[in-house]
């Protein structure tokens, strides 16, 4: 595996007294789409939260070689890690345009931000007409795409995508994964995606980890995992 952009080693995390991760190790290289799979409660979302610093964690977490294990979410965002949380994280009271603007909050390069805004609107042209609409009034699928667009406004080096398919119709979900794939192919966007819908995630990613009870139970290329029937049935449910 080439030099890892993101590296987790023996990461533990807990919510109050309850331990959710019992030592997770994984890596994401630049330009990859890596999937994290597993049943409900396996610790998938917690893993992303450990990276962005929104849960109490311990262990080694390195981004571009530097440790971020003790860093706040604000700092992590400034490094170029865009976390699209479970439930989209839409700033519901603000307009679509304002949501996008805030995606680039930490950036100082005004001209580049404007350029990115144009590119983002190319990917999601319908956002232009909804500029002044309150983001909370968008449909689930639209909010998911807004969240992705907003993440792109950061010009991120890594996107953490948490359960993008949650609560959305299959057609919408397929569209979202198509866009993710396109961004990865054309622009080399690095993505760590957490998904319950294993088949979808495996077709969109090059490698995957399967979590079980807060530990990595299985890892390999997505192609391997898709082919292995026993793996599919016992871990992935299909």
């Amino acid at each position: 595996m080439p030099e890892a952009l993101l590296e987790l080693e023996d990461v533990e995390a807990r919510y109050g007294q309850v331990r959710a991760l019992h030592g997770v190790s994984l890596g994401v290289a630049e330009g990859e789409v890596v999937a994290v799979l597993g049943a409900n409660g396996a610790g998938k979302t917690t893993t992303l939260r450990a990276v962005s610093g929104t849960v109490r964690r311990s262990g080694a977490i390195a981004f571009a070689g530097k440790s971020i294990a003790r860093r706040s979410p604000e700092f992590v965002a400034r490094l170029g890690i865009a976390h699209v949380p479970e439930g989209r994280g839409t700033l519901s009271e603000l307009t679509v345009a304002e949501n996008l603007r805030l995606g680039a909050y930490t950036r100082r390069d005004r001209a580049a931000v404007r350029e990115d805004e144009r590119r983002v609107l190319d990917h999601f042209p319908w956002l232009e007409e909804r500029r002044d609409q309150r983001a909370g009034t968008l449909s689930g699928g639209e909010q998911q795409m807004l969240a992705l667009a907003r993440a792109l406004m950061l010009r991120p080096r890594l996107v953490l995508l948490d359960e993008p398919s949650l609560g959305l119709a299959p057609k919408v979900v397929a569209e979202i994964f198509r866009i993710v794939g396109e961004l990865n192919e054309r622009e080399g966007l690095t993505v760590l995606v957490v998904e319950q819908n294993a088949s979808l995630a495996l077709s969109a990613s090059s490698r995957a980890y399967v979590l079980e009870s807060g530990r990595v139970a299985l890892e390999g290329t997505s192609a391997e995992l898709r082919r292995d029937e026993s793996v599919r049935r016992s871990y992935l449910g299909y």
């Binding site: 929104t54 604000e74 949380p85 994280g89 839409t90 700033l91 519901s92 909050y105 950061l154």
Partner: protein, 300 residues
């Protein structure tokens, strides 16, 4: 009866009402600002404003010109508000709401006590921002002070509105207030946004106090206690979740209370406060979210 109405008096009383309402609106705005960002009613807001007025008094007393003292006080109050949030509120940011409420109540006593330690509880005066002479507008006499108060209040409101609507900082403040967790993921330092909110609120309170004090003639440490109640009443009337509501509600309340005091004999000026309380209770019973609040739909 309508024909017997004295239009001149009505106009004058309305302006007086708008003037009082304007000063209440600033404090109401401060309360709404903190409510939206920190989630509690800061019961100490009035006392903090009172403290600012005493600072202004000291500055003037030491020879500073009024307007210089005015702006310096605003700056000091802003810093003070930020400091209060960092020292007193930040430690309980994650605590249950009632704990934070109790902290603001403790803050009320702390600020009140501190003001009595630094300044003896005798009555003082600060100079007027505007002259007390009357001015003739369309044949009706109005006081420059009242018109000036209205101008300053509305001006400040517009300034604040511009800040929130059109600046990156204002946008971040709104995001941090409404969706703190999601905002952190975008790199917004939510904790500092809260502090900023407290600073702005303190500055608003300072202006409210500095406009109120001269209007009363002389003042002491009890200056802002009734104003806090009027501000809460105005904010409730307009909708405590809405900054626009706080302003409009306070202006309406000011006019309402003044007109009732003038035209309904037995109310006079002594029952203004009970009228404000009645407004609070009335609004809460009929439409809790106020004029501009969005009514919460809840079928259970």
């Amino acid at each position: 009866m309508l024909l017997a109405l004295d239009w001149t008096q009505l106009a004058q009383q309305t302006v007086i009402g708008l003037s009082s309402g304007g000063t209440w609106a600033l404090l109401a705005l401060a309360i709404v600002l903190i409510y939206r960002s920190t989630g509690v009613i800061n019961f100490a807001q009035g006392e903090m404003a009172m403290f600012s007025v005493f600072i202004a008094w000291s500055l003037v007393n030491h020879g500073l010109a009024f307007w210089a003292a005015f702006f310096l006080t605003i700056a000091i109050s802003f810093a003070g508000g930020v400091a209060v949030e960092r020292v007193v509120i930040r430690p309980v940011e994650a605590a249950p709401v009632l704990t934070v409420v109790i902290v603001t109540l403790g803050l009320l006593f702390v600020v009140d006590g501190a003001s009595k330690i630094f300044w003896s509880p005798e009555r003082r005066t600060i100079p007027n921002a505007f002259s007390t002479r009357p001015i003739d507008v369309a044949g009706v006499a109005f006081s420059i002070q009242d018109l000036g108060n209205i101008a300053v209040s509305l001006g400040l409101v517009v300034l604040l509105w511009g800040l929130f609507r059109y600046t990156k900082l204002g946008l971040a403040l709104r995001a941090a207030a409404g969706n703190p967790d999601e905002s952190r993921l975008l790199g917004i330092r939510v904790s500092w946004m809260l502090a900023l909110g407290w600073g702005l609120a303190a500055a608003l309170g300072a202006v409210s106090g500095m406009l109120t004090a001269p209007a009363l003639g002389s003042f002491d440490q009890n200056l802002m206690q009734p104003v806090l109640l009027y501000a809460i009443a105005g904010a409730v009337l307009g909708g405590i979740e809405s900054p626009l509501g706080a302003v409009v509600g306070s202006l309406l309340l000011g006019v309402f209370v003044t007109l009732i005091g003038t035209y309904v004999g037995w109310v006079g000026t002594t029952l203004r406060l009970p009228v404000a309380l009645a407004v609070i209770l009335g609004v809460l019973l009929i439409r809790p979210t106020g004029l501009f609040g969005r009514s919460e739909a809840r079928r259970v």
